[in-house]
Each structure stands twice: as structure tokens, then as C-alpha cells.
Symmetry: C2
Subunit: 221 residues, 2 copies
Amino acid sequence: MRGHRSEANVSGKLFGNGERRRAEDRRVRRTRRLLREALVALILEKGYDKVTVQDVLDRADLGRATFYAHFRDKDDLLVSGFEELQESLREHLARVARPSRADVDPSGGGIGLAGALFDHAGQQRRLYRVLMGRRGGAAVFKHARGQFTVLVREHLEEAVANRQAAPPVPLEVTVQYVVSAFLGLLTWWLDSDPPYTGEQMGRMFEQLVIPGVRAGLGPRL
Amino acid sequence: MRGHRSEANVSGKLFGNGERRRAEDRRVRRTRRLLREALVALILEKGYDKVTVQDVLDRADLGRATFYAHFRDKDDLLVSGFEELQESLREHLARVARPSRADVDPSGGGIGLAGALFDHAGQQRRLYRVLMGRRGGAAVFKHARGQFTVLVREHLEEAVANRQAAPPVPLEVTVQYVVSAFLGLLTWWLDSDPPYTGEQMGRMFEQLVIPGVRAGLGPRL
DNA sequence: GTAAAAGCGAACAGACTGTTCGGAAATTCT
DNA sequence: AGAATTTCCGAACAGTCTGTTCGCTTTTAC
């Protein structure tokens, strides 16, 4: 019952004995799992804002002190779920997505980056809905948006790296455009549950957004 | 001290005596103005979520009971500011925007719809930041998004009214795309304060988004 | 000037937060 | 299996915020 999540795994890659990625005390795993499950269920029922720590406690059937032994507050608990998802996404992308610049130049072998993301979201729909949907917590959404913005910015910077003229639209504006369009379509898809597959959403996203990106970045060299 | 805002102005277009839009009790005006000003200032300082009714009361220097005589809760107060802004926007649009379909066919006399919106936001920057920016309240943002979605949907439905073939991308997807891109650029512009005028932002928005809309709606007839 | 409306301020019950404690229970290590 | 450690429990706590009530005072409209 030492500290909070922030302290966990400080040791990095070194572990005490033979077993890699040493499992924590079973009670700890159990408690955290129960808390996360309770939170997710409650968010889907009432929306993040209306869920209190008290609700989570009651649902998970755990003591108050126990919660604060593991998480600083409600946000902290939600973020822990987000980090888990991030790991899963990383693996998914490595498996299905085309190597690079997929969102600017959709001609490679795998599906595009956007498609891969929609795909992953479709598989983990429940969790995505909680983290990214309208019922979810704004804090995590902002966090995710930030990460995603960095990703897109890198892609587009690479795309205009060796041009001479400045693009017709400032790069940052185009970045914001892409991110907004993507997240907007994603959350709409998650929340209103239309009959399109993740792959279809990815294709539609590309049809809509890529022409604008081309226009924003300027003539290809 | 009867009821809340919801009851106000029920009479619609009929007023008791000669004066149109009869002014309310001066104390009422004063109180509401003080509350709104306090809320706006506090949101810009701390962000909507962290502002409590108590804060607003202290800042406005009003009694607790007085607040609840006018507004149901914090959200209600914020929404009242939103409605005020909406009125102002309506007038602004009537004055500067091109008549219709401005976002699909940017060739008319005035500036485009998007440009007009950016323009208005630039003039009322402070209030817009509070209502639409990241520090603002999610509830109002959702509300605004809803209204704006209806507007865009109508425009696009009109644009595809007499086609025979279905568009390559379902209309609703295109609608969500346009709304997301617009609101994304708007909030970014409001929050991070880049050196572009509202008119410039409107033009950039059109450069980025219109190609996608054309692709999404399909070949023009 | 009078009557009606609005503001005041104090007090209230209810909910939630985040922290503390010692004792009870589970788990790990040997 | 037994000892040492870690975690959980549960109750209680001070503190904050909400939304409502009440009788009294002030301001306003007519």
C-alpha cells in the first residue's frame, strides 16, 4: 500500500528474480481490475461526470481507503485504463498498418493508419467509447488528442520536408484540421453506432480528408 | 423571484403595454449581469470545471439565495450567456454572410459562412473562448455542436437534393466531417491565439474542407 | 406613497472528497 | 507449514459544495 501508480515500475527493465515482468500481489491486480471494470460500467451508464468515487466503491464493493491506496482520484483511475489501451494499440498498429505516411499517400499494402485506428476502436469498442466518446472524461480525451496531434504533425512535417515554397495553408492549421476531422468521425462512430465497419470508416475518412490535406500542403514536388 | 429562466418570455411576441421587449426590473438585470460577468472571468482564470457556484457568488458579491432565484445551476447560467451570443450571431450573419450554400459554393459576393463565423468569434473572442474553448463547459459546447450540425446538414441536403445516384460517402458522415473540422479549427484558434484574422481562418477552412466535401457528395450534376 | 418584487444572510440536510487509524485477512517467501 | 509482509477493511473525520428554506430589509414600479 505504498504509493500510487506513478511510482510503479520504476525499476524499468531490471527485475529481482528470474520471472520477467513480475506479477504483483494478486490482491492488487484484483482490486485494480474491479475498480476499472466498475468505472467503465458506470461511465457507460451515467457518463463520466456523474460517476462519483463513491459509486465506483459501491459497485466494486471495496473499501474507501483501498481506492485511495491505488489511485489519486477518479481521473487517475481512468488514465490507467487508457495506458493499457495504448499498449494494445501499439501492437495492433505494428501488425496491420502500412509503414508510414499512410494517411497522405494511401497506396501501400496494408490499410491506412486511419483505417487501422478505426479497426482497433471497433475491436475495443466498449473501452474506446468510455475513453473517447461523449460520455467519457474530457481529461483523457484531451490527453489522447494531444498524443494524436503529435503523431499527425510528425507525418505531415515529413511530407513537406524538402519543399522550397511555403504551403498555402500553415502546417499547424492542417494538422489541427486532420486531427479534428479524425477524432470527430471517430467519436461520432463510437457514440451513434452506425452500420459501418472500421475499415469502411477509414476509407471514408481518407476520401474526405486527403483532398484537403493535398490542398493544404500545396503542389507535390 | 418567481421562477427560472425557462419561464421567462413565455408570452412570445405579445407584450403588455406599448413598449416592445419590455425591460425587466433593474435589479434583475443587474444581478444577472453580475453573475454572468463573474462566471466568465472565473472560467478564463480556472476553467469551467473548477469554478463553483460559491466562487461565482463571492466574485459577484451576491447572496446564495439570489443565485438560485435566477438560475437552476452553473450550467444554466452559462447557457444564458450562450443564448445572448446566439442572438448576436444571427444578426452578424444576416449582415455579412452570403445568402446560402456559401460553404459549398464559395463564389458569391460576401464572405463565406465559415468566414463569417470566424469573424464573429474574433469580435467576441472573450465570450467565445468561454463558451467554445477548452476551458469552457462541455455542456454548452455539445449544445452548440448540435445546433451547428443541424445547420450544416440542411446546407448539404440542399446541395444533393436533386441527384439520382447516392453520394460516395453517406451524407451524415460528411456532415460530421464538416462540423468536426470547423469546430476543431475554431477552438484551436480561440485557445492558442495564432496571428490569423477570422477572415483568414475562414479562407483556410474552405481550402481544406471544401475539396473533401466535393469528394464526399460526389460529382456535381 | 404603497404594494409588489427582489435581495439578503443565515442556517440546514445531504452528498462527496480525501485522509487517518488499528485490527483482520490474504499472500508471498523460505 | 510458518513467519513476515503486504494489503484490505471499515469506521470515523474535517472540509467543501450544493440546493433549499425562511423571515426580514431594500429597491423598484406604478
